[in-house]
């Protein structure tokens, strides 16, 4: 698709006919994100090459890297749009354009490239570009005192800093985070986006497409400084990328540091507001299509015909990123529960089984005017390559570990068939998970060590949805050490039990939304999966289940079926539910029923 659409060759800096198209989403040129599409693909490809070499993919990465090298200006600048379409206008519209967002994805691509190829072919030009950015942007004299409308570079710079340990990478990210939303920023002591818009000669009423009113800077989480933000607002992907970086900044300085204590309350407040009042049962976020983002508290319609349900794939990936950073600060299974929920129900749903069709929007309920479906590609193609790189980096979400001498700590956040190799220098340890998760809750662990014994602490997440669970360890300890939803297994036990099973039986559950959401529905879940009833399996259904009454008092019948699709055989439970009846549409919005029975009956 990158080749078909012109993206693949875009770093050759030749004119593409589509560059003349009027912006679909004013004022952002449709090709504005092409840099990031290519970068995300490189990032995903490099991660996936680690496990499985593919000569064609390898050659494509190398070709793209050569193109990127060739596209770099002598001073380090690197951007398709501002090289080909609007040369001379670089850094004049940080608010709307995705110049720094693209730079962020180039940095993340360079990191993945460096990890796999162990060379500097991509990292070197990107470091040169970052040098230019650090020179141009900041709060120093003569610098542009701005920050990107679409965060991404912040988290990328902090990932880069982990490798480079170069303080200017940390400083630039920190400047972007601390300056954001400053009402009296820069030399002019005004909001940067106002100053910048005036410099462009823009009328305040010439607003970006997504602004419901002039100066709706909450769209970019720049209405007030981050530390003063009470509720999570605006574009949901931007919010997640930003908060991922803020959480990472807290991790770098430690939560107890000055920076940590400054930002941590906002991070926790915004996470809680999101999870408790602004997220779907699937973990999806962003009810509002209008600004691809958050609505008011508890406004969580199921689909377009009810007034919303955007739940963009990239936003759910963002929730996973944010949760993953929080787990590094605060090992609490709550964050991993949300991460798992998103992975299975709002991210993996974003791609078809054959990997060739994608969702952008993940509404919970289909309607006649807006059928839920997957597409081959999008004009703004952020989601497909974002799924690719997330799958490539999946191990990073599964577990985290620290090694110090012959000691190791391994946190297991998610369960899946997976292997973790730990090299202490003296020893090689291999931790293996074997499981049919998410269909079965049994996970078999196998720990093999070559060389001297490793002092391993293994921490296993106990899922919040697990009503009961057990760890088969002999001799069974009197009391299991569970802290914040993680089972802590020490080296002594593990040496006696290098093979053991964690068992989290999965049962169908009915989940009811908070009554303030006004949703007269129940959700059927089993383990981490939220089940979906599909029109295609129910030919009797003519109205997308809008008027189907489900009887929660009838027990769910669980059947195991072999699903055979695309040559993949999968054993997955099918839940059979009984439908009580359908109600017919009332004639008017309000119908007099006389003294009605208790309960809505729907």
């Amino acid at each position: 698709m990158l080749k078909q659409t012109g993206r693949y060759d875009a770093f050759k800096l030749k004119w593409h006919p589509s560059y003349s198209d009027p912006p679909t989403v004013y004022p952002i040129p449709n090709h504005q994100f092409w840099d990031s599409d290519v970068a995300k693909w490189i990032e995903g490809a490099c991660y996936l090459l680690i496990d499985h070499f593919d000569a064609e993919i390898d050659a494509a990465v190398k070709e793209l890297v050569t193109m990127i090298q060739g596209a770099q200006h002598p001073d380090g600048y690197l951007n398709i749009h501002y090289s080909v379409v609007e040369p001379g206008k670089r850094f004049t519209n940080l608010r709307d354009m995705h110049e720094l967002y693209n730079a962020g994805h180039l940095i993340e691509a360079a990191l993945a490239h460096h990890i796999y190829y162990r060379n500097f072919d991509l990292l070197s030009p990107i470091l040169k570009y970052v040098d230019l950015l650090a020179l141009t942007l900041g709060d120093g004299p003569g610098q542009i005192n701005g920050y990107p409308g679409h965060p991404e570079i912040e988290l990328a710079l902090l990932r880069l800093y982990k490798l480079s340990a170069d303080p200017k990478h940390l400083q630039l990210a920190q400047f972007f985070i601390e300056e954001r939303g400053n009402p009296k920023g820069g030399a002019k002591k005004r909001h940067f986006y106002d100053v910048e818009a005036e410099a462009r000669g823009e009328s305040e009423h010439e607003s970006p497409f997504h602004y419901p009113a002039p100066k709706s800077y909450w769209y970019q989480q720049a209405h007030v400084p981050i530390v003063d933000q009470e509720t999570i607002e605006g574009h949901s992907v931007r919010a997640m990328y930003l908060l991922t970086a803020v959480a990472d900044l807290v991790r770098i300085y430690s939560p107890e540091s000055c920076t940590g204590t400054k930002f941590m309350p906002a991070v926790q407040r915004l996470w809680s507001n999101m999870v408790e009042k602004k997220s779907y049962v699937t973990g999806g976020i962003g009810a509002m299509k209008q600004w691809e983002g958050f609505g008011i508290d508890y406004f969580l319609p199921q689909g377009t015909d009810e007034g919303g349900c955007y739940a963009e794939t990239c936003a759910a990936i963002g929730v996973m990123m944010f949760a993953e950073r929080l787990l590094q600060i605060d090992l609490d299974s709550h964050y991993a529960d949300i991460m798992e929920l998103c992975l299975y129900n709002a991210v993996l749903t974003g791609m078809s089984l054959d990997g060739k069709a994608f969702t952008y929007v993940n509404q919970l309920a289909s309607s006649e005017k807006d059928i839920s479906q997957r597409f081959e590609w999008f004009e703004c193609a952020c989601c497909p390559p974002n799924v690719t790189r997330t799958l490539g980096f999946l191990g990073g979400y599964l577990w985290s570990h620290m090694v110090k001498g012959q000691s190791a700590v391994v946190n297991v956040h998610l369960y899946s068939a997976a292997t973790l190799k730990i090299d202490t220098g003296a020893s090689n340890m291999v931790i293996n998970q074997k499981t049919d998760w998410p269909w079965s809750g049994d996970v078999d662990f196998d720990i093999q060590t070559e060389g001297p014994a490793v002092d391993l602490e293994l921490r296993l997440r106990i899922p919040g949805w697990a009503k009961s669970w057990k760890a088969c360890i002999t001799p069974s300890p009197r009391k299991l050490d569970v802290r914040n939803g993680y089972l802590y297994l020490n080296a002594e036990w593990l040496q006696e039990n290098p093979q053991f099973q964690l068992s989290c039986p999965m049962q169908p559950l009915l989940v009811r939304p908070n009554p303030l959401t006004l949703q007269p529905v129940v959700y059927v879940t089993r383990g981490p999966i939220v089940y979906c009833v599909e029109d295609v399996d129910h030919p009797w259904e003519k109205d997308h289940f809008k008027k189907t009454i489900f009887d929660p008092s009838t027990p769910l019948r669980e059947e195991v079926s072999w699903i055979c699709r695309l040559g993949l055989e999968e054993l997955s439970p099918i839940l059979t539910m009984s439908v009580l009846e359908s109600y017919t549409t009332c004639v008017s919005s309000h119908t007099i029923f006389g003294l009605i029975e208790v309960g809505m009956g729907i």
Copy 2:
């Protein structure tokens, strides 16, 4: 208030300091509607003077009329803003500015003035202004081929035509209605608002405040021609004023005429869409604050904290106007039911008992961040004088009549203590209603005739909410003649029963919204009144009844209490309801309850 704010003297055409204020609602200057505020006050004052002379009011009307006469340009033009603030720019922005809307209200004021004073002091200058408009606007060569963004002049011109019988008044209204939304209008064969905006040199992204996207002409019901509009959209007051005019146009030509058959299907379709899918239990319309208008089907939140509930007072007045026109085409009690619902629950609620405080927005439920309350005045003060003129014209909603020689037909749409005098030339007939409506459903009719007998047909609306009703007529007819919800009483019966009683017992009812609205509520009604529970009467309530569970299975207890407010003694029923319990807030948007009980239980 008109005097305090500068409106009263505005037709003196002197500069007022507020003219320099930036527009609160871009691009409309805040004083843009001042002409209409004065005009609506004159209209209401003249109607009310008919029943009750007041020297101060009379003097004020005369003073204002003198000012209006003095404000007229030699060519007939008459507008405050374009005389004082932007001279030379008249008729350059029909889309956003309220120039023609103001003209419409001046016409309606002139009609009321002429009815009361029986002179031409106001009607003459207004007729001269209308001559200028008819010369300037239309589809003739050299004319502006446009139509107003805010309809009003259309219905005013048709009311004027009823008096003037001047075909150019009908033609101009008809041109505005037929040209509206024409994608290939005028000499340039393009949408008028596009042509006009380009002539002003406007960027398409420099959108009015209320536009969610460029060229959101559905805001003004001008996205497609009226006959092609499938659903009711956009600003609700504009929609009602427009459809009132369209219905009146159908009446003038007759529904069977070419014009009637062209427009009647759209009129009925849009009425039905509004009543069945886009109106509140109170008759209020317009869920969306963003554009003061209609949302998608069944999107009817109770208050701001749920995502909307604007229900502007003027919009409900518009529904009454629209219903009143429809009753003239099609005598069906359904229209009168809606008219009555609006009057009691969405219009009269718009003013406090002392007449000194008003609502603009009439949300159904209060919330901490947006308390339901009345205000003394508004910057955009359309609602207060609109209530005044509606009260002045209330008789026009109560009944309609036709007299032809010694024959008369009287339709009684609403019940209230009221008297109708009919002069056939030879006879004087007085029809009197005596009732405590809306607290009691008994109405005593008394018909007195001086002079020869009048062949009267009296048609009484049987309210849709009345589960049983009776008319005490002796001798009781074998079969009552009821057609489309109206009881037809002929002259023979009426001569035998010049006094009789119609009795429509009022009982408390629970009204349940259509399940597709997702509102887990019931409404308590009695007769035409929708009851409201108020925080002020329930000091135990701390969260605006958000979490109060009402038990619909417990019978309502009806108590009659004397309410004594402001010296007015009123006997009105108080309904006592039992509250089942309150639920506590769940910790998250979605809570696992295990296998839950049937029904939402809230």
